[in-house]
C-alpha cells in the first residue's frame, strides 16, 4: 500500500462488493444496529430470554462467517500460518457471532411485544443504557 486514505478504502470496498451491494450492506448494518438500539430504548430493559436466544445464535454466526470466508477463498483451517492468521480468524468469527446475535435479538424484539415473556425473565428489569455493555461482554 502506498497511502491508505479512507477514500481509497471506500473505493476498494466498492470494487470488492459492487457499489450498490457495499452501500446496501453498510445501510443494512446501520439499520439493524439502529433497530437494536430502538428496541432497547423502547422496552427500557434487556429481555434475558431474548438475550439467551441471541447468545445461543452466536456460535452459529461465528462458524457460518468463517466457513463462508473459507468457501469463497478456497482455504481451510490448515492454512493458518501465524498469529496474525488466528487474529483474523477470531475477528471474522467475532463479527459473525456478534452480528447474528444483534440481528436475532432485534428480530425477536420486533416480532414479540415487550411484556409477553417478561414473567419468564430471571431478572425483571435492567435499564437499557446499562444493558449495552452486558451484550458486548457476551460477545
Amino acid at each position: 500500500m502506498q497511502e491508505l486514505t479512507l477514500g481509497t478504502m471506500i473505493a476498494v470496498f466498492e470494487e470488492m462488493f459492487g457499489r450498490w451491494l457495499f452501500w446496501g450492506l453498510v445501510a443494512a448494518a446501520v439499520v439493524i444496529t439502529g433497530l437494536y438500539l430502538m428496541v432497547l430504548i423502547r422496552d427500557r430493559r434487556v429481555s434475558w430470554r431474548k438475550f439467551l436466544v441471541a447468545q445461543l445464535s452466536m456460535p452459529v454466526g461465528a462458524v457460518a462467517a468463517v466457513l463462508f470466508l473459507q468457501q469463497i477463498t478456497h482455504s481451510h483451517l490448515r492454512d493458518m500460518g501465524g498469529p496474525v492468521d488466528w487474529l483474523v480468524l477470531i475477528g471474522v468469527a467475532g463479527l459473525g457471532g456478534v452480528g447474528l446475535a444483534i440481528m436475532v435479538y432485534t428480530l425477536q424484539s420486533l416480532l414479540r411485544r415487550p411484556g409477553r415473556d417478561a414473567g419468564r425473565d430471571a431478572v425483571p428489569e435492567v435499564r437499557a443504557v446499562g444493558a449495552v455493555p452486558v451484550v458486548l461482554e457476551g460477545s
Binding site: E3, G7, I10, E15
Partner: protein
Amino acid sequence: MKASVQTTRRGLFGLAGAAAAVAAMGPGSTRAQAVSTRAKIVIIGAGAAGTGLANKLVRRLDGAEITIIDPRPEHLYQPGLSLVATGLKPASYVVSQTADWLPRGVTLIAEAAAAIDPLAKTVATTGGQTVAYDFLVLAPGLVLDHQAIEGFSRDLIGTNGIGALYGGPEDAAKTWEAVRAYTETGGVALMSRPTTEMKCAGAPLKHAFLVEDIASRTVGAGNFEIHYTAPQGALFGVPIVAEKVRMLFGQRGIATHMQHTLKSIEPGTKRAVFAKTGTDAATGQPVTSDVEMQYDYLHVIPPQRAPDFIRQSDLSWADKWTDQGWVEVDSKTLRHLRYPDIFAIGDVAGVPKGKTAASVKWQIPVVEDHLVAAIGGQEGTAVYDGYTSCPLITRVGQAMLIEFDYNNNLVPSFPGVIAPLEELWISWLMKTLALKPTYNAMLRGDA
C-alpha cells in the same frame, strides 16, 4: 482543496477510530485543482498503466485532448492468470471491457500503434491514422516471443502436458487442463522461465508451488516430482527472498536446475531441451551444453520483449537489454532520457524492476506528477523507488506478501503485522479478495 483524513501505510490500524468520518469522505477527496491546458496527450495502451493514468489525468487536466490507442476490446486483469491456470478462478475472472474503464472525454482509437516519430511527435497506427502529440505515454505492455522456443506454439497449450499461462485467459484455462491431468496421473513436471526480463517474476514460482500443492493432495506424495528450471543463478532477484524460496523448495521436494534455458520441445515424445551454461573447470571459460529432460507436464514461459514499433522507433536503450528493447527512461521519473515529452510506464519501461500491476500503481502518480508539471512549465518532484509487490502464493490458502524496491530492500506495507517471509493465510486472503478490487480502483484512478 478539501481537508482529508490521510495516513501512511504504517498507520492502517489508526484508521479504525476514524470510521465515523467515512460517510463524509468520497474516493476523490484528495483531488488537486485541475490545470487548464490544450495539450494533446497520447497514451499507447489501455492496460493497467494506460487506463489508470488516463483516469488520473482527466481529473488533473481541464481541456486536454487525451487519446488512447489500443486495438484490444478486452481488458485483462493479468494478476489473476496464475489462479486461472490452477483452476482456482474461471477464465472470465480476468476479463472485462476496455471501454468500461475509460473516462468520458478520452478518445479511444481501436487500432494498434505502428510507429512513433519522436522528432515530428506523431504516432502512426496500423489503420493508417497519424496522431500528433505534445506528450506521449508509452504503455503498450510487452510481447511474448513464443517462436523463440523451438517446437512450441500456442495451439499446443492444454495438450501433451503443455501449459503456458502468460498468453491470456484462454491460455491460462487450457494450462489448467494440462495441470489437472498431471495432478491426477503424476509423473515429472518441468517449470521454466526465460532469460529475458519478465512480467511478474514470481509467477513461475507460484505456479510451481501451486502445482506441487495440488498434486500432493490429489495424486499424492511419491507419485510426482517437480523440477524448477531457470537461466538465472538465483531463484528470485531479491537475495533474501531467493534464500527463503530455496528453503521452501527444499521442504517441498522441488528440485532446482539453475542456468538452464528452455530451447526447444518435442511435444510428441514429451522431451524438452535446455541450454545449460556453466564454467569450464580447466579454462575458466563459460561453456554451454544441451540437456534433455523428459516431462509429463511442462510449463513454458517464452522470452518477453518490447513491441516491435517501440524497438524500431529509436526509443529503446542502446546499451542495455538490447535483445529486448525496453524504453530508455530515467528509473526515478520514468521520463525518456532523450525525448523529455515521452514517458514509459508499466511493462515496457526500461527499469530494473517493476513489470507488475503493483509497480504500475506506484508509477502512475509519478508520471502524472511529472506530466502535469511539464504542462505547467515546471518540473515534477515525485520519485519512483522501484516498489513492486509479489503476493508469492506457496499453497492454495497461503502466500508470502513480498514487497521490495530497486535496492532489494523489503518494504512491507504492514510491518510487525504481516511478515513478508512467512507463509500466511492473511496474505492469501489479500491476494484472492483484496487485490482485484484494489486493481480496479487503480484503473478508475481512485487508488
